[in-house]
């Protein structure tokens, strides 16, 4: 492509302008990539912490469930939790980090349920069930918001990673393909122009010599 350009001054100017822009773009993208990287690392760190917490809480909940299970037969527990009463509504919003659209899950009515009708959470009567089941349900319920946040963060990290990959590819394309090619083309045009210049000079000198010789 670079060889197909007509080696004119006009073209050279244009190319030089293009190169400058590519360089600036390259620098900006590199900055963006670095910033994305930094944010990604932060996010990954927080995801890791959250994941550990969720895993800890989940295994606690499993243990609580196990203890409830030790007191009640599997079909008793089965029927106790068969009919779900709690519906977790959450809104999915979008927010933008460095131009990346990441999801945000906002549980809609977590607050009011905790105050007023928290007993809605336990879909069974009291007489024939063990208090251990309450504990198990509590534990599981306390993991839920964390799970939601973990899902949000992990998705964000995934999207960020994709964006980083894309940016890096662009940076690389600029750095290793576009800019070198532009530079080469510029060099080629410059050389071509210089050659023309030199040819002109030689021709001028020749003409001068002929004029001087013819004059003898």
């Amino acid at each position: 492509m670079e060889l197909r350009v007509s080696p004119t001054r006009m073209q050279l100017l244009q190319l030089k302008r293009k190169l400058a822009m590519a360089r600036r773009g390259h620098k900006l993208l590199k900055d963006k990539r670095d910033e994305l990287m930094r944010q990604f690392m932060e996010l990954v760190e927080s995801v890791r912490e959250l994941r550990l917490e969720v895993e800890g809480k989940l295994s606690r909940a499993m243990k609580d469930f196990l203890i409830a299970r030790m007191q009640m037969s599997s079909s008793e527990i089965g029927v106790s939790v068969l009919y779900p009463t709690r519906v977790l509504d959450f809104e999915v919003a979008e927010s933008s980090t460095m131009g990346v659209t990441v999801p945000q899950f906002n549980p809609s009515d977590e607050g009011d349920q905790a105050s007023g009708e928290s007993s809605e959470m336990y879909p069974y009567g009291l007489a024939m069930t063990s208090a251990e089941l309450d504990t198990a349900i509590d534990s599981l319920a306390s993991v839920m918001p964390l799970l939601l946040r973990l899902a949000e963060r992990e998705k964000s990290a995934e999207l960020l990673a994709e964006e980083i990959e894309r940016t890096r590819r662009r940076v690389n394309a600029l750095e290793y393909v576009l800019i070198p090619k532009l530079e080469e083309t510029i060099k080629f045009i410059t050389m071509k122009l210089e050659e023309v210049e030199r040819g002109n000079l030689t021709r001028l000198m020749k003409v001068k010599e002929m004029v001087r010789g013819g004059g003898v």
């Binding site: 037969s73 079909s75 928290s118 009567g125 024939m128 208090a131």
Partner: protein, 359 residues
């Protein structure tokens, strides 16, 4: 000494003697210790195979311990029914599974599923019959009184009406599927119907000792239900709906205590007949798992009261009820052990959750 006295004495003499002999088959401290020490499920099954569980563990996959326990209870009910003069005594223990099946049926109905895998075969009425009654396919007339009460209470609560006179009406069932139900309230209604049936059955058997034990049982249930209501802040309305009215402790007492700290509860209860139980529990009353501990202590207390009071009875339903209670307890304890073992819980944590005399 009247003729009827002689009659009861005669019919129960045989049954009680058999029960006393059968009590030898209950797992003793030694066996429980061996099961607790066993490192593998196969070993536990082998130990159980040497006991009266041998029928229950045969032809059952080792991992399906729930099936083993169900089969054992099935066997015990069948066995005791052979010779007990009044089957109501066995029904006292089987009604629980009718209650369970009703809960499954109504929930499944509301969800539009078939509840498979949750049905219990141990009830006095087959699960299939209960399902057919719940889906209004058949009326309630063919059911024994307690099952009729249970189903009737449930159908009423779900506003399906006590059927029998009206033909099956699919539209009512369809409406139900669209309408959310309150399973807690449903359970409260069914539980109350269940305890009311127990009360009637005990009255019909005419044993003052069993009446006393039922009251004790209800009081224990009410106490833990009260504490759970307080802990989960369910409110007075929930307390009132969960309250079972056949105990000695009145609802007013619990209502009064609802907004009081746990110390007041301890003080008030130690003035009741449960002072020994409550004083044992008061040391744990501040712990996070206080209610579970009361549940456990209550179970132990109940078993002790039961075996202590029926030991002196030789002609009557009490020893039979006592045996069935002991067997139920043993099976629950085995469940605790098996579930704990299968999930790698340490022996100490398992042991402290047992309620039998060997604990």
């Amino acid at each position: 000494m009247t003729t009827s006295d002689l009659q009861i004495g005669q019919s129960y003499a045989y049954a009680v003697a058999r029960i006393r002999q059968a009590e030898n088959g209950l797992l003793d401290r030694n066996r429980i210790a061996r099961i607790l020490d066993a490192s593998e499920m196969s070993e536990i099954l082998r130990i159980l195979g040497e006991t009266e569980y041998s029928w229950a563990v045969s032809d059952v996959a080792a991992t399906d311990y729930e099936a083993i326990l169900t089969r054992e209870l099935e066997r015990v009910f069948r066995y005791v029914s052979q010779f007990v003069p009044d089957l109501t005594v066995v029904d006292l223990f089987r009604m629980k599974y009718d209650l369970h099946n009703c809960k499954v049926a109504f929930r499944a109905l509301a969800l539009g599923v078939d509840g498979s895998g949750l049905w219990s075969p141990l009830g006095t009425v087959s699960a299939a019959e209960i399902w057919r009654a719940a889906t209004l396919e058949i009326g309630l007339d063919g059911f024994p009184k307690h099952a009729r009460d249970l189903l009737g209470a449930g159908l009423d609560h779900l506003q399906l009406g006590v059927s029998g006179d009206t033909p099956a009406d699919d539209s009512r069932l369809e409406q139900l599927a669209d309408r959310p139900i309150d399973p807690q309230a449903l359970d409260a209604v069914l539980d109350r119907a269940y305890f009311s049936s127990l009360d009637e059955a005990v009255y019909q058997i005419g044993s003052s000792l069993l009446t006393k034990l039922l009251r004790l049982r209800v009081d224990l249930v009410n106490m833990t239900a009260f504490l759970r209501c307080v802990r989960l802040r369910r409110g007075l309305a929930a307390l009132r709906s969960a309250f079972i009215p056949f105990g000695d402790l009145p609802l007013e007492l619990f209502e009064k205590l609802y907004n009081e700290p746990v110390e007041t509860f301890v003080r008030e209860m130690s003035m009741s007949m449960y002072d020994s139980l409550i004083s044992e529990w008061s040391a744990f009353s501040k712990r996070k798992d206080a209610v579970a501990i009361l549940e456990r202590l209550g179970r132990r207390y109940f078993t002790e009261m039961c075996s202590a009071s029926s030991a002196a009875v030789f002609f009557g339903p009490e020893p039979i009820a006592s045996y069935l209670i002991a067997k139920e307890n043993e099976i629950n304890d085995l469940r605790t052990i098996l579930v704990g073992k299968a999930n790698g819980l340490d022996t100490e944590s398992i042991r402290e959750r047992l309620s039998g005399a060997y604990a």
